[in-house]
Structure formats: C-alpha cells, structure tokens
Symmetry: C2
Subunit: 148 residues, 2 copies
C-alpha cells in the first residue's frame, strides 16, 4: 500500500498552501479568496456557476468571498453579452497583480522541486495528479487547464 504517498500528499499540500497564506493575510484574505481569484484570473469571463462547479462549494459560501473581492476592487462583474442573466467575472489590474504574485510563489516551489529531479519528472507528476482526479471530472479539468 502506497502509504508513503498518502502522507506525502498531506505534507506537500500543507506546505504548498502555506506560501500564499502569508501574503493573503496582509490583504485580509484567506484561502477561499485565493481560489476564487486564481480561477477568475486564469479564466477571464468565468460565470458564477462555473466557479461553483470548480470549487465544489455552495453559492452561499462563494457569495461572501466573491463579494469581498468585488467590493475591494480585485474582481469585476459584468452581464453576459448574450445571456444577460450571467455575471461574467474578470480580474481588475489590482486583482491580476495579486493573483500573479501568488501564482509565482507556488510555481517557484514546484520548479525547485522539479529541478532536484530527473528529466521528465514534470510530465510524470502531471500524469499522477491528473489520474488522482475522479474519472468523470478529468475532462472538465483538462479543458480548464488546457486553455491557459
């Protein structure tokens, strides 16, 4: 049994999320804000429904953090040009800066990890994490990541 990977996943994720936490705290934000900001930043024009599906949280949980991000000028909302019921989400320059700053921090940790490893490790890590996702979710995730 791959108990080593079970435990390593816990420790790796614990430290992986701790990098942004420090910066987020300065802004009065938490991890929930980070996740919203990240996916909006990477997918401009995302709808609220899409975000709920990605994060797998309820509308009410999203509402509070999204409202804060909008009120404080990190995220913009505008009605969909075709379907005006939709509120398409984009980052403001301020929001984009913060999102990129947090992404760089997490990317650096990953790059350092890969630098210490054999050629081709990025691809293996990608495959491993991809196959850890529920099979019926993989398509959605692949589509979301590809377009970036």
């Amino acid at each position: 049994m791959p108990i080593d990977l079970i435990e390593l996943l816990f420790f790796a994720y614990r430290d992986f999320t701790s990098d942004p936490d420090t910066i987020l705290a300065e802004f009065g934000f938490g991890r929930a804000h980070h996740r919203v900001l990240h996916f909006v930043s990477r997918n401009p024009g995302l709808r609220v429904t899409d975000l709920l599906g990605i994060l797998r949280i309820t509308k009410q949980s999203l509402a509070r953090v999204l409202k804060q991000l909008i009120d404080e000028g990190y995220i913009l909302q505008e009605p969909g040009p075709v379907d005006r019921r939709e509120r398409l989400l984009t980052t403001t320059p301020l929001g984009q800066d913060l999102a990129e700053r947090l992404t760089r921090l997490q990317a650096r940790r990953i790059q350092r990890a890969l630098a210490a490893m054999p050629e081709g490790s990025h691809e293996i890590a990608r495959q491993f994490l991809y196959h850890m996702i529920d099979p019926d979710q993989r398509g959605d995730v692949a589509r979301l990541i590809e377009q970036s």
Copy 2:
C-alpha cells in the same frame, strides 16, 4: 510556469480527501478527526506534542477532536512509562479498523493512478511530493514515514 501542476494539485487533493469524507460523515467525524486517527494509527505511542508538530495546529484545536475520539472509543491514552507527564496515544481495535478502512480507500485511488502510468512513477511521485515540503521539515517527515 508550471501552472498545470498548481491547478492539478488543487483538484487532486480535492478528490483525494473526498473519499474518506463520506465515511467520516457517517461517524459524525470530519477531516480533523481523520488526520489525528491516521497518524496515531500509523505511529502507536505518539505523544500529544508530536501530533501538534505533525499537524501544525494549536493545542486547543487538537483538544476537541482528540477528546471526541477518546470519548467515543477510537483512541486510547496512557501515561508514558518513563515520563509520566506524557500521554501516549494508541488506537483501539475500533479506531484501528476505521483508520485502515480510510487508508485503504485513499490507497486504492493512488494505486489506480499509478497503474495507468509508466514503471517507476511511484518513485517519481514520491520524490516530487517530498521536494514540495519545506526543506527544514523534510527530515521529520522522512523519519515519520520510514518507520512505517
């Protein structure tokens, strides 16, 4: 920038933790209980201080979940034979059963992921996750995992 791995880590961890969540809910437990039960199960005789260091939470956060696990007969406490201030933690048969059931569930997901991948992927995944951990924490983690 390895943005793919940033996002894949999020999705992989989201689904990885969702397996045990279903079972835990039946017992009225949450993820915090799972983490405590897991590390006690894998490291019988663990001290409270050790657990605090592993989980990186405060004594107060641990207290509630640990008390529940003890009160409901999943974990046992006994004074250290040498240093009687210590409370060494072990699982009861009930606790061990639950811990192993949850571990099997997470192990199965990992094994299925690895089965779909080239030979040697387990080792690469291990290295990747290991290097994602803060350098100054790696020794502790390695020691914790090895003994199992």
